[in-house]
């Protein structure tokens, strides 16, 4: 962990470092957000893309550091989040655990508590959602529960901010005491075997930090670490037969050869016992809860999907309609910044570097911020209300046919707007393989930046009334190709047994504005910080490649020619010619020429090859590169009729089709590739993506070229 994160506290005072643990949807994040005067710190857990939130605050004489660990149902290491939590609890240094539980669903929540209790750490239980429990007439006897479990249990409510101080007081008093053994009681056969092992350890005066009882439980549970420790000890030879006997006894009692299952049942019956003792619920008539009423509409077999599609449509309308308003401002701002800063720099090269390289490049990244904010607000809303799980429920059937997961839908649809938020939203997929597969497919959904290229080519080769249909065909065929690619990847690279789909459908809740604001803000800042720095560097690189080496001879020659001609028109023609020749002999032009043979089978000339390569920086650049290369000046857009003419004159129909196919499939822009790499978690996935998309783009473009050539003859 990053040590700098903690330095906000002075070293002199008493520190308490707390690991906040709980099952998903118990309101953990909301609980730490309700601590007043808290100082939030957001980062990543090392090595994984799991947000790590640390909260720093002072209470009484103590400095508190609370680490909000990702929600986990049990220590099964099934998702990244579960692994992060488990590893943190086992390996990191902290003083105690606050286990947040949902008071309205105590029995299920205590299943995790039971696992925590066998860890020999100090624990405080926060009985969260006390307000909801009272509404549901659930009475919990917290003092009695504390006594039964040997763990302080404190009623709190993050929503009404009540009980927080009691919780912190309990934490302080636990911190000031010695670690107390939690009172986890098992069934008779298990207790017998524990006693046998404890007696054996005591007889041999085995030295250990943890209690003998704790060691015995961990041995019975097949805890690998405990095994490893004892395995090197001389007593192991005698202990082993005892353990084998003990395991047999326990398994026989539970009629199962799975010791984990046996222990889960042990925990469950212990929890049932606790709940029966401490929870009094006035029996109300079994009427449908609000959640069930909402569910009967939202996941209805007939209306569910149309309602969902309507929500998605609304979200995208908002994202791209409202998002485009500030986008114009941002665009104007960076244009203005370039115009203002440019003239103040005397040196031509440096001015070009700052204006054309840095400002233009960074501007392109900042441009997407409004989209990202709106989309993330939408996604945070969908997630925190509990609707996202319903979406997965509704769509899993369809997506499963293609090897994906119901929740893959959100990132894929987002991909039609921009791949960057799409890659980021793939985080909602909890399972590694599902998420990776989805990340690989997102690029097939043509993003908004590719639209100009399609518009240009559709305009050049098809009648205006056909162009709209062509665009639609391009988008749809991209999506279909994506589904096919998913199926192929699932059958090859991501082969293996299907990941099970077992998912909680949480209660519907009103989202907390503070929490949403916080999530959106941190995600946006992370996007700006990380993608921004990379992009700035990359823009400089592209700028350099397309501007160097300078050819003074050529520049002077044209300068003379431009001097001599009289009309503005002729001057423009000459300037464009110069730009073309300069680009041809620049590093980028050299690369284009060099790579021309590779693209020849697809019917591309060196200009198209270069355009494809600059498109790696950003897809919008493809159009402007083609404009420069076909000598029309820098200021071209997709509606520029002379560019359309130039293209229909210089490029054959078959080459154009192949070009569109490549644009549809090949590597997304640099910013997106960087985000992809970060979300995938390893640089090797970038190379896989590069290989996969290149091969797919090349072979499909090759087929398209040949089919189109054949048809047009």
């Amino acid at each position: 962990m990053n040590q700098e994160d903690i330095k906000a506290c002075p070293v002199i005072a008493n520190h308490i470092k707390i690991a906040l643990v709980g099952q998903p949807n118990v309101g953990k994040s909301m609980l730490i957000n309700s601590v007043s005067n808290a100082h939030l710190h957001v980062g990543n857990f090392s090595g994984v893309t799991v947000d790590k939130t640390e909260v720093l605050f002072d209470y009484k004489d103590y400095h508190f550091t609370v680490v909000d660990l990702p929600g986990t149902y049990a220590f099964t290491d099934y998702t990244i989040e579960e692994r992060v939590t488990h590893d943190y609890l086992c390996a990191e240094a902290y003083d105690l655990i606050i286990n947040v539980v949902d008071s309205t669903s105590l029995e299920k929540n205590l299943q995790l508590t039971a696992e925590l209790m066998s860890m020999s750490k100090s624990i405080v239980i926060a009985l969260n959602m006390d307000d909801e429990a009272q509404k549901e007439n659930i009475q919990i006897d917290a003092p009695y529960m504390s006594e039964l479990m040997g763990i302080p249990c404190v009623k709190v409510s993050a929503a009404t901010k009540s009980g927080i101080e009691n919780l912190l007081d309990a934490v302080i008093s636990v911190k000031e005491q010695e670690i107390q053994e939690a009172k986890l009681i098992f069934s008779e056969p298990v207790e017998e075997e524990i006693a046998v092992i404890v007696r054996y350890l005591r007889k041999h005066k085995y030295k250990a930090v943890n209690s003998y009882r704790n060691i015995a439980i961990n041995l019975l549970k097949n805890n690998k670490k405990t095994y490893a420790k004892l395995h090197d000890d001389p007593i192991w030879t005698e202990l082993q037969p005892i353990l084998i006997e003990a395991a047999k006894h326990v398994e026989l009692h539970h009629d199962s050869d799975d010791i984990k299952e046996a222990f889960a049942e042990e925990y469950a019956s212990f929890n049932r016992g606790i709940v029966a003792e401490v929870v009094k619920q006035e029996i109300t008539l079994e009427e449908k809860t609000l959640t069930e009423k909402i569910d009967s509409v939202l996941i209805n077999s007939y209306f569910g999907i149309p309602i969902f599609l309507f929500f998605m449509w609304g979200l995208f309308q908002l994202t791209f309609e409202i998002g485009s308003i500030p986008m114009d401002w941002i665009d104007a701002f960076f244009g203005w910044a370039g115009d203002t800063i440019g003239p103040t720099i005397a040196n031509d090269d440096i001015r070009s570097l700052v204006v054309d390289g840095l400002i233009a490049g960074v501007g392109a990244v900042v441009l997407f911020v409004p989209n990202i904010i709106i989309l993330f607000i939408g996604i945070a809303l969908l997630e925190s209300t509990g609707y996202m799980s319903r979406v997965a429920f509704l769509l899993d059937g369809f997506f499963h046919k293609f090897g994906m997961h119901g929740q893959s839908f959100i990132p894929l649809v987002t991909g039609f707007g921009c791949s960057i938020p799409a890659y980021m939203s793939a985080r909602i997929l909890k399972n590694d393989r599902d998420r990776l597969l989805t990340l690989f497919i997102i690029g097939f959904m043509s993003c908004g930046a590719r639209l100009p290229v399609y518009v240009l080519f559709a305009g050049a080769f098809f009648a205006p009334e056909m162009a709209g249909n062509i665009l639609f065909i391009i988008y749809i065929s991209g999506a279909i190709l994506g589904l096919i690619a998913a199926k192929i990847l699932k059958l090859t690279a991501f082969k293996g047994a299907d990941e099970p789909f077992v998912m909680e459908m949480p209660k519907y809740r009103l989202p907390s504005i503070k929490l949403i604001w916080h999530t959106v803000l941190t995600k946006t800042m992370m996007y700006l910080k990380k993608a921004g720095t990379f992009i700035a560097a990359a823009s400089i690189l592209i700028w350099f490649l397309s501007n160097y080496p300078h050819n003074l001879l050529l520049e002077n020659e044209y300068a003379d020619k431009i001097e001599k001609v009289a009309t503005e028109e002729e001057k423009t023609v000459l300037k464009n010619k110069l730009a073309e020749q300069l680009l041809e002999q620049s590093y980028l032009g050299v690369i284009g020429k060099f790579s021309e043979p590779i693209f020849e089978p697809l019917g591309f000339d060196w200009k198209m090859s270069v355009a494809l390569q600059t498109g790696l920086a950003a897809k919008e650049v493809v159009v402007s590169t083609l404009g420069v290369l076909y000598a029309l000046g820098d200021d071209v857009d997709e509606e520029n009729s002379s560019l359309i003419n130039a293209i229909s004159k210089n490029i054959s129909f078959a080459s154009a089709i192949a070009f569109i196919v490549v644009i549809m499939i090949y590597l997304p822009c640099l910013a997106a590739s960087i985000v992809f790499t970060r979300e995938a978690g390893h640089i090797k996935y970038f190379f896989y993506l590069f290989g996969f998309t290149s091969i797919a783009a090349y072979s499909l473009a090759f087929i398209a070229y040949n089919v189109a050539s054949f048809l047009s003859h």
């Binding site: 799975d258 049942e265 209805n300 077999s301 899993d396 499963h400 077992v502 998912m503 459908m505």
Partner: protein, 75 residues
């Protein structure tokens, strides 16, 4: 022998056995689905591909294929 997937909407059953592989079994157990657990079937997704059940107070979605691995009896 009947499985959770054979149950109709709104029927209540008790788990007899989990026939799932170890990973999935752990997953089910961590959601509170184990021997003796009472389950109520709430809803089916279109084409019956996914099923929503109620375990205690928790609603859980699982695929039909996974539901087939849960042996149940009517109560």
């Amino acid at each position: 022998m009947s499985t959770l997937n054979d149950c109709k909407k709104a029927c209540k059953v008790k788990v007899i056995k989990l026939n799932a592989p170890a990973d999935l079994k752990q997953r089910l157990i961590s959601f509170g689905i184990m021997k003796e657990t009472l389950i109520e079937v709430l809803e089916y997704a279109p084409a019956k591909s996914t099923i929503e059940v109620k375990v205690g107070k928790m609603r859980i979605a699982l695929r039909a294929k996974e539901a087939e691995l849960i042996e149940v009896e009517k109560v």
